[in-house]
Structure formats: structure tokens, C-alpha cells
Symmetry: C2
Subunit: 242 residues, 2 copies
């Protein structure tokens, strides 16, 4: 089984200023790639918090993906924290700096490549660099940790740009709906779950949908088994597809 963990970095999430969208994006991409996301942890901009958490997650899964803290301002400390966590220094990465310089020149001709902006090319040393088409900012990799930005559109673009590198056993997923209540279908679900332990059956009530009360999902790597389990439940609970 190929596994991953997510580390979402940023005071803005913990203080409720911004709703994290990146863990949802990441979860969908990883599911599509057959990589099992084991856990998501969200921490503040504190260097030690980031460092301790990234080291722990790094040991738990094949891959770690981080979001946030790689901009030019004082509260962007992810490169520094991850370098420190893995006993590395920081060094100006010349090719990245050059790409940043050219990007700045093209898009904001009046902007100055000052020290603040140069910090965005001050990377853990050594690190691996994965380029993403049409962007100056790379995905920086330290051991199994992939460092991505917090801005949601950029995060999504970059994780989709590199997702081909990650692949596990892709799960089949079937979703059925029912107008019955969770309390009335629970025994049927239990019975089928027991008969098909390799299929993950999930049950999610909705209180404000006109067309159904519960969404039931079936996931597993063996396509035929997933379909078999879903068919049994579908018959038992008057399930339908949307």
C-alpha cells in the first residue's frame, strides 16, 4: 500500500481567517492516484511545530505533502523549518533564483528582486527540485517531503502537475443513495461490511437534500468485490444512483 500524510501550515487556518482548501484538493488527487492519505495535520507558522510534525509524518508514510509558508514574508518559514528538521542548511538555489528573476521581469517589470523575494529561492540544502510547467516556483523535496504553496489555485495546479509521480493501487469507488434513514440501514450495512472486509463501506447522512437521506460509498482495490458488496446493499436499502 502506498501512503501519504498532509501537513497544512498556517496560523490563518487555526484562527479561522481562511478555510483550508488544499487538504481537500490533495485528498482527491491522492485517491485518484491510489495513494492512501493516512492523516492530515494542521499546525501554526512556528518553526518547531512544523519541524517536529514533519519529521513524525515523514516516518509514518511514503510521502508527505506540505501546504503553506513559502512566500516572501516573515511568517513564511516552511523551508527553514523543514531544513532544520532534517539537519540541513539553507542555500540560495541559483536556477530557482534565475527563474524568479525572469518571471518578475516579465510580469512586473518595475518590481525589485529584493532580499524578501530572494528568500523564496533560499531552499533546504541539499534538496530535490521538481519543476512545474509555466511556473518559476518548484516543488522542493526533502527526503519524502514535498513542499507546496498555500495559495489554493497554485497548490491545485502544482499537485496536479506532479501527480503522475505518485501511484498506488487505485480504488474502485461506487456511490449509492437511499431515502431510508441511517438507523434503518445500519444493520444491512454491517452485515455486508462483515461479508466483504476488503471493501470500505461508508455511510454519510444528509439532512438537507430533497432526493436522499444517506449517501453510501464502497471502496476497494478489487473491482468485482466492490461491485458485489454495493449490489447487495443496493437491494437491501432501496438504493439508487444519482
Amino acid at each position: 500500500m502506498t501512503t501519504a500524510c498532509a501537513l497544512i501550515i498556517g496560523d490563518e487556518i487555526l484562527t479561522g481567517k481562511v478555510q483550508d482548501a488544499n487538504s481537500y484538493t490533495l485528498a482527491r488527487v491522492l485517491f485518484e492516484r491510489g495513494v492512501r492519505l493516512l492523516r492530515i495535520e494542521t499546525v501554526s507558522d512556528d518553526i518547531d511545530e512544523i519541524g517536529q510534525t514533519v519529521r513524525k509524518l515523514s516516518g509514518l508514510a511514503d510521502y508527505v505533502f506540505t501546504s503553506g509558508g513559502i512566500g516572501p514574508t516573515h511568517d513564511d518559514r516552511t523551508y527553514e523549518a523543514i531544513a532544520k528538521a532534517f539537519d540541513r542548511g539553507l542555500a540560495l538555489h541559483a536556477p530557482t533564483l534565475e527563474k524568479l528573476r525572469m518571471d518578475l521581469q516579465q510580469r512586473y517589470p518595475d518590481a525589485v528582486l529584493n532580499d524578501a523575494r530572494k528568500r523564496m529561492a533560499l531552499l533546504p540544502d541539499p534538496c530535490e527540485i521538481i519543476g512545474v510547467e509555466r511556473l518559476w516556483v518548484p516543488v522542493v523535496v526533502v527526503e519524502n517531503v514535498h513542499i507546496l504553496p498555500g495559495v489554493p489555485s497554485l497548490f491545485s495546479y502544482m499537485i496536479n502537475g506532479i501527480k503522475q509521480r505518485f501511484r498506488g493501487e487505485v480504488c474502485e469507488r461506487i456511490i449509492i443513495y437511499t431515502r431510508k434513514s441511517e438507523g434503518d440501514i445500519a444493520e444491512d450495512l454491517s452485515r455486508v461490511q462483515h461479508a466483504f472486509p476488503s471493501v470500505a463501506i461508508g455511510s454519510y447522512p444528509e439532512y438537507d437534500k430533497a432526493t436522499y437521506k444517506v449517501m453510501v460509498t464502497f471502496e476497494g482495490v478489487d473491482v468485482e468485490t466492490v461491485h458485489k458488496a454495493a449490489r447487495q446493499v443496493e437491494r437491501a436499502i432501496d438504493g439508487f444512483h444519482l
Copy 2:
């Protein structure tokens, strides 16, 4: 300082079927109450994962809030996991069962109070019960762990219903906006951050807003200091309010 951690429980989040909304709701409520949210952890429906994580978080903060896993189906295992984590058993809680029975009778006269539904009143024993107006389902408390449901509308209603119980030092927050780029304001922010270490200054770029490029936030418990820091930055970066 009064602190909290959040534990979001559910395979549906980790497999990207559902975007977690509850940690955002919780973060806003806790900020409003002056309680500092230290971290958010999201785990699967696995009993040991839930148990180990809740114990760890319980030791890190004054309060833990959990979301998810308290319904009637086989994948709802939060009460069981938390009971086990704190070396408690599970017992049918008679007053909760009675409220559930009455609620069912009123709202779904044809529904049967079967074993699946009764599981929702099978609570860690002992536990503390906090009733929430107009709901049969209580907030169950084990040590400092407050157990809430995953359904977003219910989570929001319940956390708002009990929030008066939690109070720390409330932070003043000021938000200003600028049309300058992060790279051009970074030095000003650093300087002011250095002069006002008790104020948390955050900088958040937006790439798709017509009216501004960066949102800058100032938070701290001393109102006058927060305003002072914000005024200094506002002048330096041509900041404005929206």
C-alpha cells in the same frame, strides 16, 4: 493562555469524498472566545488511530473537540474509541436513550428504536453530558474531550450552543488590504513585527481579487498595541480597509 486542539474523524475526509467544514467553524468560534487552537488532526475511522490521537491531543491543550463518528452505522466508532483510550467502558445512557426515543416518536413515528439507533446512546462510562437546546444528542465529554457530530449543520449548531463555557483572552483583530505585492511589503512587515512581538502579523496574498493583492492581519490581546502596529503598517504599505 487557554488552548484547544481539534480532532476530525472520518475516512470521507481522507479519501476526498467530503470537504471538512467543521474545523473552520470551530476555528472561528474558538477565536471569538479567545481560545487558541493549537492544531487540527484528521484521522480515519480506525479505533486505534482515534484513540492514540485523542490521548495525545488531550495532553497538549485545555480542550479537545472531536467531529464525526457518532451515528448509528458500523463506521461510527468515536464513542468506543474514546472510551477505550481513557480506559472506560461503554454503557447505555438512560436519559439520552429516552430523549432519542421521544425525538424518534415525534419526528419519525414509524421508525423503530433498533440496536443500531441505540448505539447512539451507548456512551463512554463515566462521562459528562452537556445538553443542547432542542436536540436529543448531547455533547459527551470525557476528561477534556468534547465529542461532536460530523454533520456540518449539527456541528455548528452544537458548538455555538456550548461556546459560552469556553473563554480565554480574546484577541483584537485588524485586517488591512493593499494593492502592493507581498515581495514589496515584506520588509515593512518584518520591521513592524520586530517592534511589536506581542502582535501576530499575517500576510496572505490573493491572486484573483480585483481590489487588492495582499490581506494583512494583526492579532493580539492588547488592543492598543494591535492598533499601533496596524497603523504603522498601514502607512508604510498604502493599506486600506474593506
